[in-house]
């Protein structure tokens, strides 16, 4: 009989992950926590901050595709190496010659940990960051998020309570979630001027 004594391992995904594959869960646990740092890094080295969100997506896709065959031993280092490679590729393939703003090749090669030490948000910091994002939502959106997420009302109940159509509740929840996602993954915090443009880019696009 094979017995295996397991001490409790690092915090694992929650029940909602039941819809996600093992690889999805890996990605959520190992890659997404570095999002804040990645976005700050991209904002800093990439000349056009309007493209940061696209870059982030392409980097994520590359990391994910490559993890399909082999999981990197150091996910964080792999994430940033992928970021550097992707930016280099883009610069090479681009027909556009940078005139007034060349990418900062020096900082492309900076070691990740020199850019900014990884910050693991404490529970309280994370809550504060979430609360700030929550408070930044429009009145309607904020009410929907509160009733759905905090009070746990169903979509129908929320619609009745706020006198909205269910479809409106649904779309407000979707909108609110995207803002909360930024807070959760740390990209809403402490980002330079590029952040403003990035978030505009993200939210006004609906």
């Amino acid at each position: 009989m094979n017995k295996l004594l397991l001490l409790y391992l690092p915090p694992a995904p929650q029940y909602l992950y039941a819809v996600l594959t093992a690889l999805d869960q890996w990605f959520a646990a190992e890659i997404l926590p570095h999002e804040g740092m990645l976005v700050r890094y991209l904002t800093r080295v990439w000349p056009n901050s309007a493209e940061v969100l696209d870059l982030r997506q392409d980097i994520y896709v590359r990391v994910y595709e490559s993890a399909r065959s082999t999981l990197p031993t150091s996910p964080k280092a792999f994430l940033f190496a992928t970021a550097r490679n992707l930016m280099t590729d883009r610069i090479r393939r681009s027909r556009v010659v940078f005139i007034d703003s060349t990418p900062d090749y020096e900082s492309l090669n900076l070691l990740v940990d020199e850019i900014s030490p990884e910050r693991r948000l404490s529970a309280r910091q994370e809550l504060r960051s979430l609360a700030r994002a929550f408070d930044s939502l429009s009145e309607k959106c904020r009410n929907v998020v509160w009733l759905r997420r905090v009070e746990g009302l169903s979509q129908r109940e929320t619609a009745q309570r706020l006198e909205l159509h269910e479809g409106a509740v649904e779309s407000q929840l979707a909108r609110g979630l995207r803002v909360l996602a930024l807070a959760v993954f740390g990209s809403a915090d402490g980002v330079g001027p590029g952040h403003e443009r990035e978030s505009e880019h993200e939210y006004k696009h609906e």
Binding site: L16, Q57, A131, R148, V169, A174, L180, V184
Partner: protein, 376 residues
């Protein structure tokens, strides 16, 4: 210049300019899925969308994770009456420099009133300073009414939930259908408390043992709570047996997660697949894959039987004692290790005792309140 590059012809760049749209689509999918009217066709469409591009999948993973982690927001609800949406910046830590959080309890009360859509908190700053005391007395009255109103609303919403307790006597065995289509089979001397809400199906196992056949509902996890541990399922079959604060979980179909709230607020989880059994004690989890015969043995109680296979007499007696108020005691350690086997009706200790008496050098002494086993 940025815009020139952003609209460049490179196909990979072309698709990537949609990242904000992809994210919006992922969020919409998620909200729809959480919305309630989710069916198999929706699921198939979502899966097709997820499979059509890695970027889609990642955006969805990101939103699911964000929703999960945003659960921390519920901490903000502590102390807030149900049905009340607190005003901005009511959290005790200053969030923005523009609007300092109010420390004045009166303002907090007003702001609570402002939570109702009708009375926006932004009215308050517009009031002239001189008229304020009077105004705020009015507001307080309005606030009190509104709070009373929302409290009544909260009660109404509460009462839409189903909350029930079920209990079995010693020796009893019963199957309870739940309103969500799940079924719970309760073994002897067991008690559960069931709460079904729109977001969660919550069962407290106060004592004993239960087998759960959980109807599938991905939007509403099925959570069995045992002290500080939780067994979480979406749609599956498993049994949980509680001994003090330790549990034994056996999964026969699907999978479950076992989670313990540790000293830190971070929850620790263990995943358990079909055919596995977990036993927890203090901070450790022992995971085992019992043979099919063993699984049958572990679950035989559901049909009212106890199965022993090469079981020590002491263990067999302990098992029987769960089903009877009149307990069996072994007074002679020399016989405690005798190995026995067989199928018994869990309520029929007499057959068991008769077998012991006739098949082994064991003397059975029947007293009114107990049964004593000694070496013959």
């Amino acid at each position: 210049m940025g815009s020139v590059r952003a609209t460049k012809e490179n196909p990979s760049m072309n698709t990537s300019t949609n990242s904000a749209e992809i994210e919006a689509t992922a969020a919409s999918w998620f909200a729809k899925r959480e919305g309630g009217d989710w069916n198999a066709a929706d699921q198939a469409q979502l899966e097709a969308w997820l499979d059509s591009s890695t970027a889609h999948r990642i955006a969805f993973v990101r939103i699911v994770t964000a929703w999960e982690r945003s659960g921390r927001l519920t901490a903000l609800g502590a102390g807030v009456p149900e049905g009340t949406i607190p005003p901005r910046d009511a959290w005790g830590f200053a969030l923005s420099s523009k609007v300092p959080a109010s420390r004045d309890p009166r303002e907090r009360l007003q702001s609570v009133a402002g939570a109702a859509p009708a009375a926006a908190p932004s009215i308050v700053p517009g009031v002239r300073a001189s008229s304020r005391p009077l105004f705020s007395r009015h507001l307080r009255a309005v606030a009190a009414l509104l709070v009373a109103g929302t409290a009544a609303g909260a009660f109404w919403y509460r009462s839409m939930d189903h909350a029930e307790s079920y209990r079995t006597q010693i020796g009893a065995l019963t199957t309870v259908p739940l309103a969500d289509g799940s079924k719970v089979t309760l073994n002897t001397d067991s008690q559960i408390h069931v709460e079904l809400s729109p977001t969660m199906r919550r069962v407290k196992l106060d004592q004993g043992e239960a087998f759960f056949e959980v109807s599938k509902d991905g939007a509403r996890p099925f959570v069995v709570e045992i002290a500080d541990q939780r067994v979480i399922a979406v749609g599956t079959q498993f049994s949980v047996r509680r001994e003090n604060n330790d549990i034994r979980v056996l999964v026969t179909e699907g999978r479950v997660w076992i989670e313990r709230r540790g000293a830190a607020d971070r929850a620790a989880q263990t995943q358990l697949a079909a055919g596995s059994e977990a036993r927890t004690s203090k901070t450790a989890v022992l995971i085992d894959r019992p043979a099919p015969a063993q699984v049958e043995q572990l679950l035989s109680w559901r049909s009212g039987y106890i199965i022993f296979r090469d079981t020590a007499l002491a263990d067999a007696v302990a098992d029987f004692n769960r089903y009877s108020a009149r307990k069996i005691y072994i007074e002679d350690p020399a016989i405690a290790g005798i190995r026995i086997g067989g199928h018994f009706r869990s309520g029929d200790a007499d057959a068991f005792l008769w077998l012991l008496h006739s098949g082994f050098p064991i003397n059975v002494e029947q007293r009114s309140d107990r049964i004593i086993l000694t070496k013959r």
